[in-house]
Amino acid sequence: MSSHIRRCKTIPLYARLVRYGFRKHATYVWAALAGAFTNSVFGVLRAYILIALWQTRPGLAGYDVTDAVTYCFVTQAFIGPMQLFGGGLGIPERIRSGDIALDLIRPASLQLSSLAEDLGRAAYLFLVRGFPPMLLGAAMFGIVVPTDPGRWAAFLAGFAIAVVVSFGWRYLVALSVCWLVDDRGVAVLSLVLTTFFSGLMVPLHIFPGWLGDLAAALPWAAMVQLPTDLYLGKAPVLETLAFQAFWAVVLLALGALGTRAIRHKVVIQGG
């Protein structure tokens, strides 16, 4: 009975936080549009590199030229929603200012409320920063647009899990501020790992030898490479979703441990 009452209160809270995240970012329309513009410009420049490569190696990695171009613009569209260059969570600033203590004494979980807000943010940026690069890519080069509703469903599911994986990773990076004097090092390390091993720069399939095998097994592959392959219909749906879900669960579990550690540190040791 009591758990039933609690659930009734909790779900609207997190739904509300999702909406809050969405609306908060909706107030920065110009920043989002500027981001969309930048992502589109870089999409065009990256597309030419992939086109040149696929012209000399048609069929490389099982993609044709149009697949490669599509790959490029779909992945550019992910930058905003998944915050592939880092950040998006206000936690590091709140740790530095000490305000995190206020968040930790709230009855709601810091991790879940951050996740809810981040999902709202991602939903907004998916609309504003996701479509412009795709439209530009379609207009300039022509891209693959799936007609099979099953493929769309698989892609949207994969994309949603990818956002959670990206949150899981960024949450860990954000919490690390608590134990570091200078957090810029971690930020840079995260940037390098995320941009290179997610497949944002070039598809992981064309990484040579063991580097390719390694990249395919790491959590970053679940962010960019796999949902894009779902979009292109180049990956087995259930296995791919299971692999993504595995990393989402692992990262969220680590995040939960991190939250406990930080609560211990802030509440018991007093920051």
């Binding site: 930048t38 410009v41 870089f42 190696r57 200078d182 810029r184 840079v188 070039v202 064309i206 040579p208």
Partner: protein, 262 residues
């Protein structure tokens, strides 16, 4: 002016060096970030021996030359693209009450000596490419000319990016399309790009003179787009015109700020 610049930069470096561990860590990480672009080039050439008619080492030469120019500017003037941040925080006023030009102060503000790592990384790639390519050394004089030309162009681009932020205060990211986008563009031989794009970045915004046109001369190659031979030598003139326009835009930006009082 140059003296003031270096004295200011030195003060910032000295302050940063008070935390040596952090300083060296950031230098090393700077090299790693810059190395990502090289990694992408190497991954591409792990799958092919030539990209749009250019070999790996030729691409590394073009990358290295542009990157030396870019990273030097990244170190010395890239803080100009913080104009919007300063306007929003209200800190731009502080620069305007000082007896030195706001451009110089903004460029040196928080001067970051750790970026020297990226310059060294770019220099190493350029050095490698020059060592392995069988170049005609009578054409080597062009290499320093193109690097300096590139620096002038990138400095002008950053100045334009800063000037643009006086108008687009809410959307500073747009200006990074110009600076970082130009860097991305100049990492690869222009033969991979579409004819219209190359026309635009040759005759409208002279990005082709950062490394492509002079690089063709150094490599002893004809332009796949068929531009005449004299275009290889137009870099310095194009860079000066762009620098002049950037200076005007900057002045306009400051004037706009002082007359709108944002």
């Amino acid at each position: 002016m140059v003296r003031t610049y270096f004295l200011l930069a030195w003060t910032w470096t000295r302050a940063a060096a008070a935390y040596p561990a952090s300083f060296w860590l950031m230098t090393v990480f700077g090299v790693i970030i810059a190395a990502l672009d090289v990694a992408v080039i190497l991954v591409v050439f792990a799958n092919t021996t030539s990209l749009a008619g250019f070999s790996r080492d030729e691409v590394l030469f073009l990358y290295g030359a542009a990157s030396v120019s870019f990273t030097v500017c990244d170190m010395f003037v890239s803080n100009l693209d913080r104009v919007s941040q300063h306007i929003k925080a209200g800190t731009l006023d502080t620069f305007l009450i000082r007896p030195v030009s706001a451009w110089l102060q903004l460029a040196t503000d928080r001067f970051n000596g750790t970026r020297v790592g990226r310059v060294l990384q770019a220099g190493a790639v350029l050095g490698y490419a020059l060592a392995v390519l069988d170049l005609d050394w009578r054409r080597a004089w062009m290499i320093p000319v193109m690097v300096v030309t590139g620096m002038v162009i990138f400095t002008a681009l950053w100045t334009l990016a800063g000037a643009l932020q006086f108008a687009l205060t809410d959307a500073p990211e747009v200006s990074s399309s110009f600076t970082y986008g130009s860097q991305q563009l100049s990492q690869y031989p222009f033969s991979i790009y579409g004819r219209d794009l190359v026309g635009g970045v040759t005759y409208v915004v002279p990005l082709a003179f950062i490394n492509w046109q002079p690089g063709l001369y150094v490599l002893g190659r004809d332009d796949p787009f068929g531009t005449p031979e004299f275009m290889r030598f137009m870099g310095p003139a194009a860079a000066l015109v762009l620098a002049l326009l950037a200076a005007l835009a900057w002045r306009q930006g400051i004037r706009h700020y002082r007359s709108t009082g944002s």
